[in-house]
Subunit: 572 residues, 2 copies
Amino acid sequence: MHRYLPILTWGKTYSRTAFSNDMVAALIVTIMLIPQSLAYALLAGLPPEAGLYASILPIILYAIFGTSRALAVGPVAVVSLMTAASIGAIAETGTAGYAIAALTLAFLSGGFLLLMGIFRLGFLANFLSHPVISGFITASGVLIAASQLKYIFGISAQGHTLPELANSLFNGLPQTNFITLTLGVLATAFLFWVRKGLKPLLLKAGLSATGAEFGAKAGPVFAVALTTVAVFALNLKDKGVAIVGEVPQSLPPFTLPDISPDLLSALIGPAILISVIGFVESISVAQTLAAKKRQRIDPNQELIGLGAANLGAAFTGGFPVTGGFSRSVVNYDAGAETPAAGIFTAMGLAVAALALTPLIFFLPKATLAATIIVAVMSLVDFSILKKTWAYSKADFAAVLTTIVITLGAGVEIGVSSGVVLSILVHLFKSSRPHMAIVGQVPNTEHFRNILRHDVEIHPEILTLRVDESLYFANARFLEDQIYDLAAQRPDLKHVILLCSAVNAIDMSALHSLEAINERLAASGVTFHLSEVKGPVMDRLLRIDFQKKLSGQIFLSQHQAITTLTLRTAEMG
Amino acid sequence: MHRYLPILTWGKTYSRTAFSNDMVAALIVTIMLIPQSLAYALLAGLPPEAGLYASILPIILYAIFGTSRALAVGPVAVVSLMTAASIGAIAETGTAGYAIAALTLAFLSGGFLLLMGIFRLGFLANFLSHPVISGFITASGVLIAASQLKYIFGISAQGHTLPELANSLFNGLPQTNFITLTLGVLATAFLFWVRKGLKPLLLKAGLSATGAEFGAKAGPVFAVALTTVAVFALNLKDKGVAIVGEVPQSLPPFTLPDISPDLLSALIGPAILISVIGFVESISVAQTLAAKKRQRIDPNQELIGLGAANLGAAFTGGFPVTGGFSRSVVNYDAGAETPAAGIFTAMGLAVAALALTPLIFFLPKATLAATIIVAVMSLVDFSILKKTWAYSKADFAAVLTTIVITLGAGVEIGVSSGVVLSILVHLFKSSRPHMAIVGQVPNTEHFRNILRHDVEIHPEILTLRVDESLYFANARFLEDQIYDLAAQRPDLKHVILLCSAVNAIDMSALHSLEAINERLAASGVTFHLSEVKGPVMDRLLRIDFQKKLSGQIFLSQHQAITTLTLRTAEMG
């Protein structure tokens, strides 16, 4: 019971200190989340209030079911972009159908996460390789920033790929509204400055560290307030500056997803992608923060927590949510001790949704766009290209392809090809394992690569060490190598496969070993294994592999060489 | 030049002995191939002469470009079935469109094989795991036998899956032609007997081994001759026995594939599957035969040889071909020394196509069906299920799924899901590697699993050995394990990852190691590596991993423990 409801564990020992720490953290996070929620709703193609709705019940449900003490759940940039990309193909932005599709996407995503958690399939998310995710996030950041430029220029533009967006923006440039552009550029510049310059300034001005942090995080709120007042005071609405306009004053509404088969089948693929990407991002944040206090994150319970959060979003007019990086770090740094901080944040946002929405009537969309652009710039990190180039060309190719395809063909194709590619890269790398012919280091029991060391070898014995587990992708490569080596050595009597680096042998590789054994035997060569690891040996014993083998399985390579040279000497 | 034209190598030293041996082998293989070629054309849904055409130019082209000295190329059962399955969806059997689609399929398949060979991509075929192929071939054998039963019963039936075929056959049973059934059953029984009983009988009767072999291989020819004469003499054609009928007397015609985009896009998928399956089967036969004489097979040159053979089939009225198992073994056993045997076989078949086709006018289709059924029964081998069950449950699941899907949904979906499944099974198995906490065997430098051995451990040091290469599918699992272990040990000061079984670390795993390092450091624990292998170390050095590491990289685990216990003692 405690496993599925982590709230029972931390709730039992909840203290007054924890309460006051959680309240402070919640206040800071709430102030940070108000403009962010509105902005991500805009990014997802939804009315701004949807961002607030998606932050209220989901946070509470995660606090009940999640295992991270600091994770803050809600709309995040990449997931909002993926939402826009998948729903944009189905419905027109601004229609009721679009909003219903968005909450249906959250519903499917929540159901999928919940099922993954219940069946403990969290490990499946591991099939997304890290460089592919990095590349994907970077490319998404670029796409997000590009998609927001239209609000900064005050023009209309659309598209889900970089060429589409660039083309559309370029065509719209003559319609630029220069007042909007001025507002947008000022807001962006201000927000960049707040990120870098405000906190040191506040510290210098004598504020406490927490105070300075609070001030810096409230930067976007200043930007919102200032530009809203400017639009109102200078009547910029009539000069063509796009504003947020009327936002209903209400708690999140009760909504129902649309479960018509057509919509479900159109959304299930995107829902799975969104769930997996959201989960991977969220768990990484949660683990980073948990490790600092040696707390545990249970990945499968996290799936349940995020699944519940998304179902919550689906039934309260929201859209897909996940654990956000910056808000969770702020929550942690501000001293949040338990998920109760999340519950207090939800209350703060509920108050905002009920009482504060009339205040943002004149909020220019350009300010929200500026908030998004500044936020996603921290996601864009092309250094992964440099790093993979230095470390592994195969990984570099996977990252580069993911970035290019995401930018050129959109997020869904981008991340899918990344996954397929990273699997192919792995298979490719292990399909041609490192192999070495080894000989004995004189007067020792050590055996080393004949190309690198001065070692003793026997013309009638060939010892091959293979530095990889044997499985279908490299089994036939091993066969080819052994047949080639055998064909080159007319005096050969024995082949020994030194298995010290073989952690596993799958059925295909077993079949290849049997084929090698038979084919070598047909040409008068005996086949042996040496230094087979315990778990691998257990399996081989289970199917009586030794009986089929023309040679022996030796415990050590030294024993193999001693036995075989003795035998050859006796026969010679 | 010699690499791309193996004929230059063996042709230069071609001797009179080789010539006479090749001629004898060619004669035996020709006699065996005549009924087989006709039968496989029938299986592919084509007129019988297509089988002869597909055996003439392809054999010659393979003799020029292929590297196997004994491989006999032509129509084979599984590829013919796949041809029928893929073209059946596009055109009606018996139409000109069907025949053109078949040769277009050979064209695409040939082009694909040729490209794979030129770009040396033969290793891609290794991604088909052996158990999946075994399961697929077995299921195909069952489908092929089932598809031929209609000829034995003299009824009409169709379908590409076992349920379709069974249903269609059951509905047709009332129309059974009992004369056809009698002929079919007698022919099948005779052919089974020939396989098992004729050779010993001929040997007992005093024939030489070669003679007996020849007699046994000619069994199908006897069956063809006897049943043809019976149909002619007893006028069974008028009693409803389906016969082959008029077959043109001609050398292979010159034909052109249809390169309309619609057809090409419909056939490219099947062409790739057929190429890969055909290549895998062919290379396995070629390697088995080559190993007996310590000859070399070059997989990439084999792709070129098979590609040329298929292009040859495309331009001479044929359909997809590959190296056949039984005919190659017969060719080898009959003494074929060089691919010239193939050229002589092609000549024999050309004579048959020119002169002998009127003789098979009255040949009942039931006889050809019997030939196929008896031939494919040797492909059906459910023992792979038993073997994988004993060796590896994961491989068992992959085989069973491949068999069930192939029977239930057809060959294309069957083999595709097999491929995907075997990759997933591999990722799944390596995603949760075996890990052991190790301690020092007292008074030695050996470190063993604390669960299995009586070893010394230190409460402030945790040494974890991971028995698998680290890559994206298991990187986060390693993270989870280490965080969990660290969370359970309040006294922990050092974590050592013993890397003696780690053959590779990919970029994702590197990122995980960095994350582990940072997160452990955040909680005051130092992270070390020990016994890192040379190639892995080279990569880590390239990116200055040591500088980021809070701890050290130790050459040996013993050195690690000695250094760290000393350091802890000094500090304590």
